[in-house]
Amino acid sequence: MISVLLLFAPVIAALFVPFLANRLRGIHTGWFVLAVPVLLFIYYLGFLPQVKDGGVHIGELAWIPSYGITLTSYIDGLSLLFSLLITGIGSLVVLYSIFYLDKEKERLGNFYVYLLMFMTAMLGVVQSDNMIALYGFWELTSISSFLLIGYWYTRDKSRFGALKSMLITVFGGLMMLGGFVLLYIMGGTFSVRELVSMAPELAEHSLFTWALVLLLLGAFTKSAQFPFYIWLPDAMEAPTPVSAYLHSATMVKAGLYLVARFTPIFAASEIWVWLVTSIGVLTLFWGSFFAVKQTDLKGILAFSTVSQLGLIMSLLGAAAAAFHVDGAAETMFKYAGFAAIFHLVNHAAFKGSLFMIAGIVDHETGTRDIRKLGGLMALMPVTFTIALVGSLSMAGLPPFGGFLSKELFLTGMLSLGELDLFAPASWGTVLLVVAWIASVFTFIYSFYFVLRTFTGKHKPDLLPKSAHEAPAGMLVSPAVLGLIVVAIFFVPNFIGDWIVKPAVAAVQPFMYNSPADVDVHVAAWHGHVTPELMMTIGIVIAGLVLYWLLPKWQGLYRAFPEYLTLNKFYDSSMYFAESGMNRLSRSYMDGQIRSYLIYMFSGIVIIVLGSMIAKDAFQVSFEGTAPIGPAEVGLLLVLVASVVTTLVARKRLTAIIALGAAGYVVALLFVTFKAPDLALTQLVIETVSVALYLLAFYHLPKMSRHDEKRKFRVGNALIAAAVGLMMALLAMSSASQKALPSISQYYKDTVYSEAGGGNIVNVILVDYRGFDTLFEIAVLSIAAIGILGLIRLRLTRKGDSGEKQ
């Protein structure tokens, strides 16, 4: 339970941030905030020994017990790895932001509140065992990311980027919710670990594939996979600490977490394996290819992140493929899962440091445009060193962590080449080749990033500021991450044993019972030449040659037509959605009551006649009808004559009088049908209303008092005829089939004995059903006061009260 409450520690701390930001202006608010992730990091480190041996920690707090929704803190290898990433890199990012954001010029209160909100959301995502709670935290990451991207909200581009990322990730989040609901329908529980335990039954279910696709949509949008990656480059408008934290190390990995967490459930499906792998490889290639096109430092890093996320995604797909291999733990299929997690850690470290480097360069030179930068090596030696470490790790060179994960990645891809399940065997080979080409491009953009920025000729006249080394405090965080990158190379098995293996055991429970079973030993040199090593050498050679020839072929990117890009597609689909919706609503909302009445009447006719036809409700019987006397026939003839006169009258006055005639005929009908109260009331009311019509007629403006005949419209006539026909059919059918006898006998029997009256109508009005009368007189009062208000209060313009002036 403590661990559940600690999920909310950052948000609770956020409550005090505005106070600290406003009152203690002398001290940078970040120093107070720093304590939160650091303490949480230490707390989560405490779980390491327990989790290393395959243990799990479960904390539960009931939220909506009647629906089985709990807030859970489920700490196994996978969620512990993520929790450590979130709090660890969170601490470094907060430290970095203290030096990056100016305490006088920036609204620090907002920044740290959003950041702490994000931290809670992310911890909640990775530790929630309950899918509904997971979804709640998931959307909170979208919201806090939206707020952070739009942090400099006075810039158009920030708002555009924030909106774009919000639309895409929330779309995915909603799809994911759909997947969760389907899983609940299939399994009857919201708990992920219970669903894992019933995975074989779920795979048989007819909704299984739907749940799979919906869930993957959520994961792909969040993790910026093809074709949903387009929000990530635009999210680079956020402050750099945010880009480093959210858009490289943590939030974009939420989708990877989701795929890893649900792999035990969905690995049984071939669709899952091939979808995750193929989309991953496609994203890997696409991102690395387009990263070389970018001229903005953060743009390169954004595409690089997209590419690396694709890499991890494809490895997760390969890890799921291991489910289909007999004795996978003994073959090379065992490497994919390990490689995915291992590279995830690696990527978080080097990409976090590279973003911070990009931020430092921006901060110290005033620009991130790679065309203006160059020759900073001598001016910013420390920054250059860290950038070099990060870039070479990203390129996959020794002696950095990236080398090891690249080797493992190639092993994982080689294993796919051997896989001949479900698809033609050559498909795995295609993926391997594409992945290799993508690695070449990764090599190129890594060199492009670091060499174009730090080597070459210094161009001081192009820079807004004169470049110099960053303050020490700003360099601490990237330096720490750089050291980790190097450390991973030298002691990979230490990290492997403590962090990666427990996570792999959580992702692939179908292969391993405990982390100790994960039989992967990472080594920089295997003692003999492996195919992976040959491929790496090939990557280096091809990468160096292509980088050297870069000016020759970079023009290729300009040949790629702009209108075929996904951004263009997104923009135009947004534009068409908006203008199309506008056009759609304008096409029928034309502001004319006549049109709306036509919609309503035709709607009524269609619904009533349609349901009558569907239910076969037409029935006409004249059984039990009263005989028709000459008086009624005469009155009806007069009624029809006056109605026709009203319709065809050339002058309005004629129509009013004909209408009055119809009203009096109705009163006479009441007389013949023995309803004296109704007849009395109808007579008086008809007189009053005819007088009011005449009043309205008298006050018609002179200009429009045209006496011409109304135009005949076929559509109107058809709809009027249809409504009349419908009502006649409805009335006849309902009169012909009365289900129950009338209640009126009761009134007749009790009107004197119970109510002490003789006039049934009046007794019903004031006694049996006086409630109706009470509100009818209220209606009358409202009408009277309304007319009084309409006439007395003539508000011609706003603030212009009445006629008395």
Partner: protein, 140 residues
């Protein structure tokens, strides 16, 4: 201005009371014979309209200085009060009570709380109708 309408004005002075008495009759007779608060109210209003036709608005207002908006309020309160009085006697809302009493002048008479409710209806109808007609009539 309407001083020349001698015949109308003189006739009105007589006919007004006939209509008014008929309206009162219709109102009281409502529980046993056709009529009731609604028609009674409308007829009363029409008697007042006759006055308005024969004389002008200012004269009628001087002779019958009622604020018809207040009358609407009184009618609504009376109707709602009658309906909710039943709560005091621990019976459901809108339960009416009636009994037979020997009144001085009228002899054996049935008194029914529904009559009070009907009186509310009557007052609202008179007030509303007169309000509408007066506000439209005095508008230029």
């Amino acid at each position: 201005m309407k001083n020349s309408d001698v015949i109308i004005q003189t006739t009105t002075k007589v006919v007004f009371f006939i209509i008014f008495l008929f309206a009162i009759h219709i109102f009281f007779a409502g529980h046993y014979t056709p009529g009731g608060g609604f028609v009674g109210g409308l007829l009363t209003a029409s008697a007042l309209v006759l006055l308005l036709l024969a004389f002008d608005i200012r004269t009628v207002k001087k002779a019958l200085p009622f604020n018809y908006t207040v009358i609407i309020g009184i009618g609504l309160i009376l109707a709602l009060g009658t309906a909710s009085a039943s709560i005091l006697f621990d019976v459901p809302f809108f339960t009416h009570a009636y009994d037979y009493f020997k009144l001085p002048l009228f002899g054996e008479t049935s008194l029914h709380s529904a009559m009070l409710f009907d009186l509310g209806v009557y007052l609202v109808v008179v007030g509303a109708t007169m309000n509408i007609i007066l506000s439209i009539g005095s508008d230029d």
